[in-house]
Point group: C2
Chain length 116, copies 2
């Protein structure tokens, strides 16, 4: 499964991943794909985002550290970006309004150079 995600090198839905694994000759059930993805996500080995339509998309990232993504909405390719600015902004904003235990999401969606 990790292999399949690495092969993709981009964000994929569980079902897309399943299709690709089947196409690659692997015999695996959709249930197992969901289960394994969930496990990897819980273990922090892969990142999970939600599309506008609410579908979960998964990606194996180079680092387990906190970071954000610049995702191509056409092919799913993505760049991992870290940003002190965003971290500082999030922390400052949370404190300003008296919120605690704050986590943040910050993702960029566009069209990559190859797809344009």
């Amino acid at each position: 499964m990790r292999d399949a995600l690495d092969r993709a090198g981009a964000f994929r839905t569980a079902q897309a991943l399943h299709d690709e694994m089947k196409a690659a000759g692997e015999t695996v059930g959709l249930t197992t794909v969901y289960r394994t993805l969930q496990g990897l996500a819980d273990a922090g080995e892969i990142d999970v985002l939600r599309t506008d339509e609410g579908e979960a998309i998964y990606r194996r990232c180079a680092t387990g550290d906190h970071h954000h993504h610049l995702v191509c909405r056409s092919c799913g390719a993505s760049v991992e970006v870290a940003s002190d600015e965003v971290e500082r902004w999030a922390a400052a904003t949370a404190e300003l309004h008296g919120f605690t235990d704050v986590v943040h999401t910050a993702e960029l969606y566009g069209v990559c150079g190859s797809c344009a």
Copy 2:
């Protein structure tokens, strides 16, 4: 419907809103709630986010301008925040990696002062 959202003053799922409207004595079908919310969202009159679980949550915001949210994960209360820093970061990052037509999301989730 707008009234109900205003009354809530916070992010709500379609179903929660439906419950609250029923409780307030309004007779309205869940279908209509979904339909109306969709219409308002398309018209840019309300904001839509997705929870971690993929559910859509809706909120009537004070401004139609682009902004982000600091949302309480306990009661749904939220603060609208605008940030030049984030806008600049998004634009610069997109350009750096050759992405075009980039939109971004940036939301903060925490626990508000009243709920803490």
